[in-house]
């Protein structure tokens, strides 16, 4: 079953006097349960592709499908509903809402979804334990390390069991040990919950965990290969 389908995507940014082609007639299919790593040097288009798949950015042309829904023509409200129900996000930084505790951050999406309080609480405590943050539920982001914050972000991204998790440079601010732990967590979640992961990174250490490696350059796919994950 196809989780994500991108057809002939184009996206051009204006930078000074120059037009930068962030996506250049890019097409890709990603099946449900895949663990895909988008690799490229900076400016290669991986973040733009991730944003287009997540409905955060609208391509100039082409089509983006999530499961059987075309999202590039959706309204802002429809896209918000789609993200809320189907997609979990992990960003490089500024991942958490600073005025909420770890547990409240994890609950946040469920609360907007309207999940009952008791169920929210149970699920958020359970997922925080699963990502190794038991005992840190009441801490605010400023009271946690970068790695702990990323774990909270991961917990929030997966707590409502989205079909798709998009992670943009999730290890960029982490040391190698924490990066490895985070990637191990991703792969476990991928295997246990059959969640589709698409990770954009230029961190060479991350690609070892991916089952499928997509290399991009100047907005185009220049390599797409399956591999044995670590």
């Amino acid at each position: 079953m196809t989780a994500v389908r991108c057809i002939d995507l184009c996206k051009t940014y204006r930078q000074g006097d120059q037009d930068i082609k962030a996506l250049d007639h890019l097409s890709i299919d990603i099946e449900k349960g895949e663990f895909v790593c988008l690799m490229s040097p900076s400016g290669g288009g991986k973040t733009t592709l991730l944003n287009a798949i997540g409905g955060l950015d609208i391509p100039d042309s082409g089509e983006v499908w999530i499961a059987d829904e075309r999202i590039d023509q959706m309204s802002k409200g429809q896209l918000a509903d789609l993200r809320l129900a189907n997609i979990g996000f992990v960003f490089q930084a500024y991942n958490l809402i600073p005025v909420l505790s770890a547990q409240e951050n994890v609950e946040f999406v469920m609360q907007v979804q309207g999940v009952p309080a008791a169920k929210r609480r149970d699920k958020s405590y359970a997922i925080l334990e699963e990502v190794g943050l038991k005992g840190l539920e009441t801490r605010r982001p400023a009271e946690m390390s970068g790695g702990q914050q990323q774990r909270v972000a991961v917990a929030r991204a997966i707590v409502s069991r989205p079909e798709l998790v998009l992670a943009d440079e999730p290890t960029a601010n982490l040391d190698s040990k924490t990066s490895a732990e985070l990637m191990k967590l991703f792969t476990e979640l991928n295997e246990h919950h059959n969640t589709t992961f698409i990770i954009a990174t230029h961190d060479q250490r991350v690609q070892a965990y991916a089952k499928r490696l997509v290399r991009m350059l100047d907005g185009r796919i220049v390599g797409d290969a399956e591999q044995h994950a670590a």
Partner: protein
């Protein structure tokens, strides 16, 4: 509902994220609210006192006159109902207070001076409950019956006439045939009023005595009715109007004393303007606070949008934040106003500026009035205007594109 709870929690937390800024803004709102209510209480108290003093001198909340009396208050324009008919119509109608009286312009002359006055021929017992002075506080005595042969003057008028209790004065007016109608009266009492002008304006005699002097039989110039609240005279007005025909004119006190009536109407308008002016000063701080609060969390707004919050929720969150700020500030301001006004309700002595105040009908004691309607008006207006003022920053926040907001440096 669940979304509202999320938004409220976020709004409250964000409000206290920069607690110093919030406290400064809360202080400004609280002081602004206090100033609105306190100034209004002072002004309301002054105007209320002017109106109460004014009505007590008219007196009455609703009055009956001949249709031409207000334009020409002469003895010829009398109420076309005799005393006996008035008693029959109004005696058992259940008014809180009513009385008929003779009221004509006259000249009072002592052996040294003369002055123009309003001659009031009254039934002292009928007017005791709503007279503007206490009969027992009169120097000498007050009138005892409608056929009392004495006159009661204001203390200030007696000074001017260089007369006193026990001496005689002459009251002179016109009868219905335009002949001079005059009579000598012994001064039996001197009344005291809040304002010198009142003491100089009236001469009280018995109603029957006045009717005899003016040769008008048992007719009167006006009939006055008192209700429970001078602000709401409609029940009394309607009751009186139902009991009379077109031969007389029924007026509310606001129609008889248009100055005071206009003053009462203007008071509410003045209050609204005052509240708006203070709010405009506050709004700069409020909008600035919200703009800063939005500006410093653009990335977080982007994150929330990315996580699935709709732009309308971001809009709602900023507005709720503004409303919370205003509500807390107003609450503090309201309490502060109550605490500062209540101890002053016994009256503030402003006799140092009494002469100036008297020029526009105010007495020398100011009674601030903590009116809950004024508090509600100030709060509602500020909340509504605050809502409008917060729309712009809230709208801007909700229009961010998530991908741009997240990457904002």
């Amino acid at each position: 509902m669940h979304v509202f709870v999320v938004l409220c929690r976020l709004a409250w937390r964000y409000l206290w994220r920069n607690h110093r800024r919030t406290i400064v803004m809360l202080s400004a709102i609280a002081i602004g609210a206090w100033a609105m209510i306190f100034m209004t209480a002072l002004t309301r108290g002054m105007v209320d006192q002017m109106i109460v003093d004014g009505i007590s001198v008219i007196p009455g909340h609703v009055l009956i006159h001949d249709p031409d009396y207000l334009d020409d208050p002469s003895v010829n324009n009398r109420v076309a109902l005799s005393d006996a008919e008035l008693d029959e119509r109004f005696g058992g109608a259940g008014f809180a207070g009513w009385s008929s009286r003779v009221r004509v312009p006259a000249i009072v002359t002592s052996e040294r001076e003369s002055r123009g006055v309003t001659l009031l021929g009254i039934d002292p017992e009928a007017e005791r409950s709503f007279a503007f002075f206490d009969y027992d506080d009169v120097d000498g005595r007050f009138l005892e019956a409608p056929d009392d042969k004495g006159v009661v003057l204001g203390a200030k008028l007696a000074d001017t006439l260089e007369t006193r209790v026990g001496k005689r004065v002459v009251l002179m007016s016109q009868d219905p045939d335009n002949e001079i109608a005059d009579r000598g009266f012994r001064v039996v009492g001197l009344f005291h009023a809040e304002m010198d002008a009142t003491e100089e304006s009236f001469a009280f005699v018995g109603k029957r005595t006045a009717q005899d002097m003016l040769r008008i039989g048992d007719s009167v110039s006006e009939v006055v009715f008192v209700g429970d609240d001078y602000r709401d005279v409609e029940p009394v007005y309607e009751k009186v109007a139902a009991l009379v025909d077109d031969s007389v004119r029924v007026s509310r006190w606001t129609e008889v004393d248009t100055y005071l009536g206009t003053m009462m109407g203007m008071m509410d308008g003045f209050m609204l303007i005052w509240v708006i002016v203070i709010f405009l000063a506050l709004s700069f701080g409020l909008v600035n606070t919200l703009v800063m609060a939005v500006f410093e969390r653009i990335r977080e707004i982007g994150l929330m949008l990315a996580l699935g919050m709709k732009p309308a929720m971001i809009l709602g969150q900023i507005i709720i934040e503004s409303m919370m700020l205003l509500a807390v500030g107003l609450l503090i301001g309201d309490v502060l106003a109550w605490v500062t006004i209540k101890p002053l309700e016994g009256g503030i002595d402003i006799s140092i500026v009494a002469e100036g105040m008297e020029m526009f009908g105010a007495s020398s004691t100011l009674y601030p009035s903590f009116d809950i309607d004024d508090v509600i008006l100030a709060n509602v207006v500020v909340m509504i205007l605050g809502f409008l003022a917060s729309l712009s920053p809230a709208w801007r926040a909700s229009r961010y594109e998530p991908v741009e907001a997240i990457t904002k440096v």
